[in-house]
C-alpha cells in the first residue's frame, strides 16, 4: 500500500505542475503548442532526452537484456549516442531555422511548403498518427504492467482485484496514467510539458542510479557495494555477459533504428521551441552520456535478473522484469519512489506525443480546411483530438498487449522509413513531390505487410528476409525489417524524383535562398 500512496502523491504533484504552468499561459495557440519559442538549452536538453527515453529504454531494455544479455546496449544505446545527436545537428538545426523563418509548427506544414503539394500532407497525416499511436502503446502498456507488478498485494485485505494479484489491474493503471498526462498537457500546453519533462527526466536519472545500487546490495547481501556488484555479476550465466549470440546483419540493421528521431513529429515540435541555435549545443553534446546513464544500469539489472539470486519466477514476461526486480529487492518506500521514477520516464514521452498529435490535427487538418479558425477554437480542437486518440490507444492496449520492446521497434521502423524524405527535403534540391508521395506510399505498404507478417508484433525478433536469400554471387542475410523499409523508401524517392518534373524554382529559392541549409556549409 505504501507504494500506491507514493505513486498517487507523485501523480498529484504532476497535476499541480500542469496547473501552475497554466498561470504562464499567454492564451495563444503558439504559446500552447510551442511555448512561444522560449525554451533554452537546459530545458531543451531535458525535453529532447526525456522524450526520446521512454518505457522502451527502461522497461524494454531491462526485459530484453534479461532474455538475451548485454548486447542490447550496443544495439541501441551507443548507436543512439551517435545517430540521435547527428539528427539533432544535421536535421534539427536546419529545420529549426526554416521553421522559425516560415512560422511552421508541424512537419507536415514544412513538407507541404517544401514540396508545394497539399496531397502529401493528407497522406502523411494518418501515417504519422498511426506510427505515434504504436509508440504511445509502448508507454501505455508499460505503465499498466509496472503499476500492477509493484502494487501486487496492496488490496489483499479488502479482497479486491484477485485476478491481478490483489494489485491495481493493468487496465486501470494504464487508464490513470493517460488521464494524468492528458490533464497536465491540457492545462499546461508545451510549457507545462517542458517543465514536467525536466522534472521527470531528473527524477528518473537519479532514481535509476539509486535502483541500481539498491538492487545490487540486496542481491549481493554483503556490506561493500563493490563486493556485492562482483557477487551478483559472477552469478549471471556467461552467455548473458557477451554478445556472441547476435547475428551481425541484424546488429548492423539496428543502426537505422535511432534515425527515427529525425521523423518523430514530437521531436520536430521540441526543436521548434528552441530559443536560439545555441540551445541545441547542450542536447547534442550530452545526449550520448545521458543515454548511457539510463541504459547501462537497466542492462545490468536485466542481466542480474537472469541470476538465481534475483528470485524471478520462471517464465517472467519481459515487460514485468524491471518492476519485479524493484519489488523484490527494495523496501516499500523506495519501491514506491523507484516506480514513480519509471512512470516519470514513461510520462515524459507520452506528454510530448499527446501534445504533438493535437498540434498536427489543428495545424495540418483543421487549419488546412478552415484557415479562419480562431486561436481559442484551435486549442479546443487540439484537446478533443488528443482525447480521442488517447482513448483509441487505451482500447488498443487492451486488445494488443504486446512486448514493449517489439512495439517500440515497429514504431521506429515506420519513422525511419520516412527519414529519407526529410533528408532529401533539407539537402536535395532535385527531390520532387511525386518522389516523396511514392516514398510515403511504399513505406506504408511495406510496413503494414511486414507488421502483419510478424503477427502484429507478437513474433518477437522477426526478420526480413525471414531466411537468408542466396543470389549466386552473394547472400542477402536476415535483417531487422527496418533495412528493407528504409532501402525501398529511399530507392523509390530517388527514382521517382529523377523521372518527375522539378519543384518550382520560386519554392526552391525559399528553402535554399543563398546558402545551402547544411549546417556544416
Amino acid at each position: 500500500m505504501t507504494e500506491l500512496v507514493i505513486i498517487v502523491s507523485y501523480l498529484c504533484l504532476l497535476l499541480g505542475l500542469g496547473l501552475f504552468a497554466r498561470r504562464f499561459f499567454r492564451g495563444t495557440s503558439s504559446d500552447y503548442m510551442l511555448a512561444s519559442h522560449s525554451i533554452g538549452s537546459f530545458f531543451l536538453l531535458m525535453s529532447l532526452f526525456g522524450t526520446t527515453m521512454t518505457a522502451f529504454a527502461l522497461v524494454g531494455s531491462t526485459g530484453v537484456s534479461y532474455k538475451f544479455g548485454v548486447g542490447i546496449y550496443g544495439k541501441l544505446a551507443s548507436a543512439a549516442g551517435i545517430m540521435h545527436s547527428l539528427c539533432f545537428f544535421m536535421i534539427g538545426i536546419p529545420l529549426w531555422k526554416i521553421g522559425r523563418k516560415n512560422g511552421f509548427r508541424t512537419q507536415i506544414q514544412y513538407f507541404r511548403a517544401r514540396f508545394d503539394n497539399n496531397l502529401l500532407g493528407f497522406l502523411l497525416f494518418p501515417l504519422l498518427v498511426g506510427f505515434v499511436i504504436t509508440y504511445l502503446l509502448v508507454g501505455v502498456v508499460a505503465a499498466g504492467a509496472v503499476i500492477n507488478q509493484v502494487t501486487q498485494g496492496a488490496f489483499t485485505a479488502s479482497g479486491w482485484f484477485a485476478g491481478s494479484g490483489h494489485g491495481v489491474p493493468k487496465q486501470i493503471g494504464s487508464g490513470v496514467i493517460c488521464m494524468v498526462v492528458l490533464t497536465y498537457v491540457f492545462f499546461g500546453g508545451m510549457r507545462g510539458t517542458a517543465w514536467a519533462n525536466a522534472l521527470q527526466t531528473m527524477f528518473f536519472l537519479v532514481l535509476g542510479m539509486v535502483t541500481f545500487v539498491t538492487i545490487a546490495n540486496s542481491m549481493g547481501g554483503g556490506d561493500s557495494l563493490l563486493d556485492n556488484l562482483r557477487t551478483v555479476t559472477a552469478s549471471v550465466p556467461e552467455a548473458k555477459l557477451n554478445m556472441s549470440g547476435m547475428k551481425w546483419s541484424v546488429y548492423l540493421s539496428y543502426l537505422l533504428i535511432p534515425l527515427s528521431v529525425g521523423m518523430f513529429p514530437h521531436v520536430f515540435q521540441h526543436w521548434l521551441t528552441a530559443k536560439s541555435v545555441n540551445s541545441f549545443k547542450l542536447p547534442i553534446v550530452l545526449h550520448p552520456i545521458l543515454v548511457m546513464a539510463v541504459f547501462a544500469p537497466c542492462v545490468m539489472i536485466g542481466v542480474w535478473a537472469s541470476s538465481p539470486l534475483s528470485g524471478l519466477p520462471a517464465g517472467t514476461g519481459t515487460n514485468d522484469v524491471l518492476a519485479i526486480m524493484v519489488s523484490n529487492h527494495t523496501t516499500s518506500l523506495l519501491g514506491g519512489l523507484l516506480t514513480a521514477g519509471i512512470l516519470a520516464a514513461i510520462m515524459s514521452s507520452l506528454d510530448s506525443q499527446f501534445l504533438c498529435l493535437g498540434t498536427m490535427f489543428t495545424e495540418d487538418i483543421v487549419r488546412s480546411i478552415k484557415p479562419e479558425t480562431s486561436d481559442e477554437n484551435l486549442v479546443g480542437f487540439a484537446r478533443m483530438f488528443v482525447f480521442a486518440i488517447v482513448t483509441l490507444t487505451f482500447v488498443l492496449s487492451l486488445v494488443l498487449p504486446r512486448s514493449v520492446f517489439e512495439l517500440g521497434i515497429w514504431s521506429f521502423t515506420g519513422f525511419t522509413g520516412l527519414f529519407p524524405i526529410v533528408v532529401a527535403a533539407v539537402y536535395w534540391r532535385r527531390v520532387t513531390a511525386w518522389g516523396a508521395i511514392a516514398s510515403v506510399a511504399v513505406t506504408a505498404s511495406i510496413w503494414i505487410v511486414l507488421f502483419a507478417r510478424s503477427d502484429f508484433g507478437k513474433n518477437k525478433g522477426y526478420t526480413f528476409p525471414e531466411e537468408a536469400v542466396s543470389l549466386g554471387l552473394f547472400d542477402i542475410p536476415v535483417m531487422n525489417p527496418i533495412a528493407t523499409v528504409t532501402f525501398a523508401s529511399a530507392l523509390t524517392l530517388i527514382v521517382v524524383s529523377l523521372i518527375t518534373p522539378r519543384v518550382n524554382a520560386a519554392v526552391l529559392h525559399r528553402f535554399f535562398p543563398v546558402r545551402k541549409a547544411d549546417p556544416l556549409g
Binding site: Y73, G74, A79, I82, L241, M243, V285, P288, P519
Partner: protein, 72 residues
C-alpha cells in the same frame, strides 16, 4: 572541415560494429561485462566527438541564429 566531420562519424560507426570481439568474456573491475564496458566507452568517445563538433564545426552562418546572443 566537412570531410573530416564525416570521416570521424564513419570511424565511430566502424568502432561501433565490433564483431571481432563479440565472444570476448571477462569483467572490468570484476563486475562490468567487457562488451558493455566497450560500448560505454563508445558512448563517451561519441560525446567527446560532439564537444569537438560544437567547438569546430558549429554553424558560422549568423542567419542560423535568429535570436543572437546566449540563451537566457
Amino acid at each position: 572541415m566537412k570531410p573530416l566531420f564525416w570521416l570521424l562519424i564513419l570511424i565511430l560507426l566502424i568502432f561501433h560494429q565490433d564483431y571481432w570481439q563479440w565472444d570476448r568474456s571477462g569483467l572490468l573491475f570484476g563486475f562490468v561485462p567487457y562488451s558493455l564496458a566497450y560500448h560505454m566507452g563508445v558512448s563517451i568517445v561519441t560525446a567527446l566527438f560532439w564537444v569537438g563538433t560544437v567547438k569546430f564545426f558549429w554553424p558560422k552562418d549568423e542567419l542560423l541564429d535568429l535570436k543572437t546572443g546566449a540563451d537566457a
